[in-house]
Symmetry: C2
Subunit: 334 residues, 2 copies
């Protein structure tokens, strides 16, 4: 049994999302707390801008939670930059116990799982979770110099310029993290760096299938099942795989990478990706929908592609992972 | 209070260390389980070799614990490579829930803390912890191409070619993880990438001082206080700082980076470093000393330098962190 049911489900008492220009111009614009059309956030490098986004998101989430940095027992943070410097420089100002994570685009769920388990078992009472990505830090690190203006393949996703933050606490009015299912690494041999949706989809399928098998539930028991960030390719693969396994995901399944941009107008190819993509969609859009009572019970399945440029150059395939977090507006619902 | 006292202290039921040539030629040689004089471990790239060291260390630790991979509730792993690929490719074969960490040289303690907190509170019953580094993957990633044969500054440390693994479990005969104190990021403005000991020392001091203040204990209450990996520079700074604060560390304080190599013969400048340095010293040498009854109660304070080549090029200083783990051969000792 990989599923963990939280006996004392932690509450999301603060949440915030900070985004860049394309994300602000996208369909979820109204649900983000802050944006900067220059994407520099008052700093002089893209890398510093990404750290600043983390700091801003965490500060806004704490403000909403009406707590100070000193109230946090621990901060869990991660990003895509080499040596995860977005997080170390982003979170150092808070002066709290710090756990650096690397889970690629699954980082926000990884941090939410660890926080929830440690709050749910009484170790901590309040934790911060932060994840970020920045198109300009990722593009030049993983692909080409920005000035080169490299073209993306139709199956490629765009790294979101975004950061999301949660404050999770033992007491609160919800929404609550009710169940978590940490993922295992699944590697089906995909080596195409321009199709990471395909590389991560088997991991999402693996985690979702385990969840439904362990709980006996069905996809339509939920208001929404949200992967992040598989984009168009990965979303189609997961839908197909789940259908073959007897689970009908129609009408209930979406992907953070598909939601962040407007496919018709913004031409983002297969959609968004990056640690900040699902972090901002969840900590911005989704939390606001819970607040308004539009949704009550969702599965958030964040996927990560755990390769590096060096591992791909050495001919290795792309290992994928998918961490599941069930968020629910009731503590007691089955 | 940052200190966490484990009510049900988890036991280290399996441990192993896998090292390269220089580490095998060093003074702790007899305490390591496996070495490869070619440092390739049967693979064709240094990066694959590092992953293989993780796999071997975890396998050996599980063999000693007499468990299978399937018995682990989760694996916590990290390394220094960009996007932590040493861990994703190293741990994927185990097919267990996976949490990727980034804590630089503090990773082994970070993983041990998270595992211990989750086992100590009944969430998990058995966890694996792995950390690794490889001189050849780190050198070409952080410094110069290997063929260049770059000279190191006298204050620089050598990245250890080593991996260490723990199996922690709720039941066992010890040694036990009795207390943990997760560190906060401390940045005193050091920008010299060739003196990371100095950059990390203030974090080690911060964590140690907090520990002694919170517990009312003194350094000589322990058989050994072990930082990792500050090397010669950092060790001297921590000794000085602690002395100024009224704590006498004489005779009880050592550093994993100083222990791994023979300073007279091997000429490793300021000592060893890298995630694998303290991981192998703890999971090799120190555990064997517990086994033989030479030591009974120690503080392991692993330090990490949370910068990247890019952040240094952009003129940022080096943030340090130090995570404390108290390991004790008795469950009940005060």
């Amino acid at each position: 049994m990989s599923l963990k049911i939280l006996k004392s489900p932690p509450s999301v008492i603060g949440y915030a999302a900070v985004v860049g220009r394309r994300e602000h111009e996208g369909p979820l614009s109204d649900d983000f707390d802050l944006h900067d059309m220059t994407e520099k956030f008052g700093t002089d490098t893209w890398e510093k801008a990404e750290s600043e986004m983390q700091r801003l998101a965490m500060n806004l989430a704490m403000a909403k939670a009406k707590i100070n940095g000193g109230d946090l027992d621990a901060i869990f943070a991660g990003d895509l930059m080499n040596q995860c410097v977005g997080s170390s420089y982003g979170a150092e100002c808070f002066g709290r116990p710090f756990f650096g994570l690397y889970g690629a685009c699954s980082t926000f769920a990884e941090g939410s799982i660890l926080s929830s388990l440690l709050i749910g078992n009484g170790t901590f009472s309040k934790c911060g979770v932060i994840a970020s990505s920045h198109f300009c830090t990722a593009e030049r690190q993983f692909r080409y110099p920005l000035e080169y203006g490299g073209q993306r393949a139709p199956t490629a996703q765009r790294t979101a310029t975004a950061a999301g933050a949660f404050v999770l606490a033992e007491k609160g009015e919800g929404p609550f993290v009710r169940e978590v299912l940490p993922g295992t690494i699944v590697d089906m041999g995909i080596t195409d760096i321009n199709n990471m949706g395909a590389a991560m989809a088997p991991a999402a399928y693996d985690t979702l299938k385990k969840y439904f098998e362990e709980t006996g539930k069905a996809p339509d028991d939920f208001d929404l099942i949200l992967t992040g960030d598989l984009g168009k390719e990965g979303h189609a693969i997961v839908s197909d795989f789940m259908k073959s396994a007897g689970y009908n995901m129609n009408g209930v399944y979406n992907d953070c990478g598909l939601m962040l941009y407007n496919a018709q107008i913004q031409d983002m190819h297969a959609g968004g990706s990056g640690c900040g993509c699902s972090a901002s969609v969840i900590a911005g859009h989704i939390m606001k929908r819970f607040e308004k009572g539009y949704i009550h019970d969702i599965l958030y399945v964040a996927t990560g592609a755990l390769m590096s440029p060096a591992s791909i150059q050495q001919g290795r395939s792309i290992p994928g992972i998918a961490h599941l977090v069930r968020i629910c507006d009731s503590r007691s619902k089955e």
